[in-house]
Amino acid sequence: MKTIDFQIRRQDDPYSPPYWQSFSIPYRKGHNVVSALMVIRENPITQEGHHVDPVAWEFNCMEEVCGACSMVINGRPRQACSTLVDTLTQPIRLEPLSKFPVIRDLMVDRSRIFSDLKKVRAWIEIDGAWDIHQGAPRVSPEAWKENYLYSRCMSCGCCMEACPQYGETEDFVGPASLAAVRLMNAHPTGQYHKAQRLHAIMAEGGLSDCGNAQNCVRVCPKEIPLTTAIGELGRQVTLQMMKDLLGKSE
């Protein structure tokens, strides 16, 4: 019988040591890594025939848009739901992202991504979510096209996994948060608070921690031009430093 073979790195909880287990499921055309994991969880028996606890992992949309199902698949960080089994060499090795603390098996704690978004103030300041009875500023189609590229970041963590500067202990905010600053700074009213965001990434753990290794941009499942954003921010930061020197505020 044709099978699909997996080696999965497992860990029972944050404090216990990791270990590996192998599973095989019957071959079926069209499996992606999430649908294959679903088959395993229904009947969690290893290749050796041992009955084990089902593998825990995260997923929600199954359309590569929620960012939940990131894991390291055959050495590469990517979304499990959009990775087709037929495109992979077997045995397929599944590991949790290594830059975040493991919760269990393939699940990791990515809360840091969201606190970093707070750190860099990745939002637009509005008076309130009520109607102000007037239209918002216009945006040229060219500017829209560039901004839209960045607005699709789903906080999946793949770029951080690939970035040599980003680590469990380091405080570098990572490429995605930097790209968020790029996006917010380009918004017609978001520009008003550009200086605050730039100051946030001029501090420790900010832009200067990026070693320009370009790994991030190669793994982003949404093809977000992260290094372009980082380049643009470099120029914005230089200008901001000059303004700061001259004592001008905004």
């Binding site: 029972d12 909880d13 079926r28 499996h31 992606n32 999430v34 649908s35 679903m38 088959v39 969880r41 229904e42 009947n43 606890d53 089902p54 825990a56 997923f59 929600n60 949309c61 199954m62 359309e63 590569e64 848009v65 929620c66 960012g67 939940a68 739901c81 959009s82 087709l84 037929d86 495109t87 919760i103 699940m107 990515r110 809360s111 969201f114 707070k118 990745a122 939002w123 637009i124 300041e125 509005i126 309130g128 979510a129 109607d131 102000i132 009875h133 239209g135 918002a136 216009r138 945006v139 040229s140 189609p141 829209w144 839209y148 607005s151 699709r152 789903m154 906080s155 918004h187 009213t189």
Partner: protein, 629 residues
């Protein structure tokens, strides 16, 4: 000193986040609960767009026309004042999204672009590339993060809502929830609770376009504690969903619009590759049954035709539940340009290229029009919903509100495309404002609710967990969910029949019984996913029963609810004024007299109890039947 009033919001999709903002802005403390980081909520899946009348395409579009389209599209089953208010406030809502930073697609002049969406004549749908829901959710997510950094909102992500805590007067005074990592169950006090837990497509298992968070479990839990469910028999099926073992993925109408043809082999046993099957051995059933519209018939008509071919005629491809949607006869350059986004999804998830190979599709459970019953207060002067009334979006349990896809508000018997991102956002905003009003009028002190009320509820929930963890039955929760999906989709699906529904109700009771004899196959109690899954599954089975019982009770065809023997169709080639048409109109009006009413399901020992409520028809009285000709 008086303690600040506290509100618990459950759900961080568009509905939940909008309500959180409005409650926080009114000065109340918000605790926001979600199964996972709110940014990953199902709302991100919506691609198409969101409706609001801007009339920037020279079509003389109007808010009134948006209202009419919504009401008629819903076969008049929605209460009309809330719909009127929603359509009126839609443009302002979109501008607020824009201020939050949502990257709406632009015209050459820098205005928000509009596109045409199903069921309407005017361009009225704003969109953000091919990921509108994602962009809208991120807009509010950012604002919520800002409020969080100011200390006004606290997030409880990775916590699952389990039940309400009610005081001696059956007023909602808090919840119990389970930490999905530690499995600890705790109670939380609150002066009011808003449920914004999304849709219930997972009751149709993998035969749904919904994300895993759309189980309806939370709604079913409060239903069992006394909240009413309304109009749950109305479920929208999307005719052309790509098949998958994990889920079915939406394939937009545009594929048919651009010339896609739907067919099956004349011989279902035909083992040839579809491209090798010659024309004379194919059955283009839509073209043959609907010569004037062919493949572009409306969603519900297409779903029913596919159903007929597969279930009645047993002509599904290879004997399975699937038919072909074929683009291979079209010019590859043309479809690449027009349908790029769709082709990409198919290639990505199926590893096959629709330019060279027909796609395999089947109707899939897409959107629940029904849900928790919610109230509204009519504003007599405007005919809409009264702004800031504490009755708006209140369930029948005092202190409990609902918004988003989990309520039954705005879509009647069928939803217009691109209207649900609107209703989720709008209803969230309204619910937040209503709760603020409720709290301002609230006299009693939360601390006066005795502690044992909370302790008892926690103990009850812990007992459910313990029973499941210790259960060593034969049943596998994942296999049961699969069975539930097949049952619901084939018997409480696109086409309904009373005998089949009766059988389905019996089978659902049996499934419920079986779901008590589960084996979780797991001893690790840390981040045990099977436990939460099984608890949700049990709720989905109960919910399936509510849907089936409501469907059995409603003996008519209306919107998405279809019983072929009761169908009234407009006689061919007749128009208003023709005797045959007027006879039809009379029959249609009689049907409205009998059935234009809201279904209310309430929980009882013996199962769902059905009653009905009149619909507020004060904006557009039903004189004109829906006519898509």
């Amino acid at each position: 000193m008086k303690r600040p009033r506290k509100v618990i919001i459950i759900g961080g999709g568009l509905g939940g986040l909008w309500s959180a903002l409005r409650v926080a802005e009114a000065g109340f403390q918000v605790d926001l609960f979600s199964l996972f980081e709110v940014k990953r909520s199902h709302s991100v899946c919506a691609q198409g767009g969101i409706n609001a009348c801007f009339d920037t395409k020279g079509e003389r579009d109007s808010i009134w026309q948006h209202t009419v389209d919504t009401l008629k599209g819903g076969a008049y089953l929605a209460n009309q004042p809330p719909v009127k208010s929603m359509c009126e406030e839609a443009p302002g809502l979109i501008h607020t999204f824009e201020r939050m930073g949502v990257t709406f697609s632009r015209t050459a002049e820098g205005l928000m672009d509009l596109r045409l969406f199903g069921g309407v004549k005017n361009r009225r749908t704003v969109f953000a590339g091919a990921s509108t829901g994602q962009q809208l959710l991120y807009g509010v997510d950012q604002e919520v993060r800002r409020q969080e950094s100011l200390g006004r909102i606290r997030k409880f992500e990775w916590w699952e809502f389990l039940s309400l805590v009610l005081d001696g007067q059956d007023t909602c005074k808090g919840i119990t929830a389970m930490n999905l990592r530690t499995l600890e169950i705790k109670s939380f006090r609150a002066d009011a609770v808003i449920l914004a837990t999304g849709g219930m497509g997972q009751t149709y298992g993998h035969r749904s376009t919904n994300s895993t968070n759309s189980t309806g479990a939370a709604a079913c839990r409060v239903y069992q504690q006394g909240a009413w469910l309304a109009n749950t028999e109305f479920f929208q099926f999307h005719p052309t969903a790509m098949l998958g073992d994990d889920k079915t993925r939406l394939m937009s109408e545009a594929a048919r619009g651009e010339g896609g043809r739907i067919w099956v082999p004349q011989d279902p046993e035909d083992t040839r590759r579809p491209t090798e099957i010659p024309e004379q051995d194919r059955f283009y059933f839509l073209e043959s049954w609907f010569p004037s519209y062919g493949n572009t018939v409306p969603r519900d008509v297409a779903s029913r035709a596919i159903w007929r071919v597969v279930h009645e005629m047993k002509m599904g491809v290879g004997g399975e539940h699937k038919v072909y949607l074929d683009l291979t006869h079209l010019n590859p350059g043309f479809i690449e340009q027009r349908l790029h986004a769709i082709l990409d999804i198919y290639r990505k998830f199926h590893g096959a290229d629709p330019v060279h190979e027909p796609m395999e599709i089947y109707p899939s459970a897409h959107y629940a029009m029904g849900g928790l019953w919610v109230d509204f207060e009519k504003d007599e002067s405007s005919g809409g919903m009264k702004p800031g009334s504490q009755r708006n979006h209140a369930t029948n349990i005092p202190g409990l509100y609902a918004c988003g896809e989990c309520d039954y508000g705005y879509h009647g018997a069928n939803r217009l495309g691109a209207n649900s991102l609107l209703s989720a956002s709008f209803s969230g905003r309204v619910a937040g404002e209503a709760v603020a009003a409720y709290l301002k009028g609230l006299q009693d002190d939360l601390q006066s609710v005795p502690e044992y009320k909370y302790l008892n509820e926690v103990a009850r929930q812990q007992a459910i967990n313990q029973t499941l963890m210790e259960s060593r039955g034969e049943e596998n929760p994942y296999a049961l969910h699969h069975e539930l999906g097949e049952l619901m989709s084939s018997r409480v699906g696109v086409v309904r029949d009373n005998d089949v529904l009766r059988q389905a109700i019996d089978d659902l009771s049996e499934l419920e019984e079986r779901s008590l004899h589960i084996n979780l196959q797991e001893t690790n109690s840390w981040s045990n996913q099977g436990l939460a899954y099984t608890r949700q599954l049990q709720e989905m089975i109960r919910l399936g029963r509510v849907i089936a019982v409501s469907a059995l009770a409603r003996d008519e065809c209306r919107g998405a609810h279809y019983k072929p023997t009761l169908d009234l169709t407009i006689p061919e080639n007749t128009y208003p004024g023709d005797p045959a048409y007027e006879k039809y109109r009379e029959a249609w009006k009689q049907q409205n007299k009998d059935w234009l009413k809201t279904t209310i399901a309430s929980a009882s020992e013996t199962g769902p109890k059905i009653s009905y409520q009149p619909v507020d028809l004060s904006v557009l009285p039903p004189e004109e039947p829906r006519d898509y000709r």
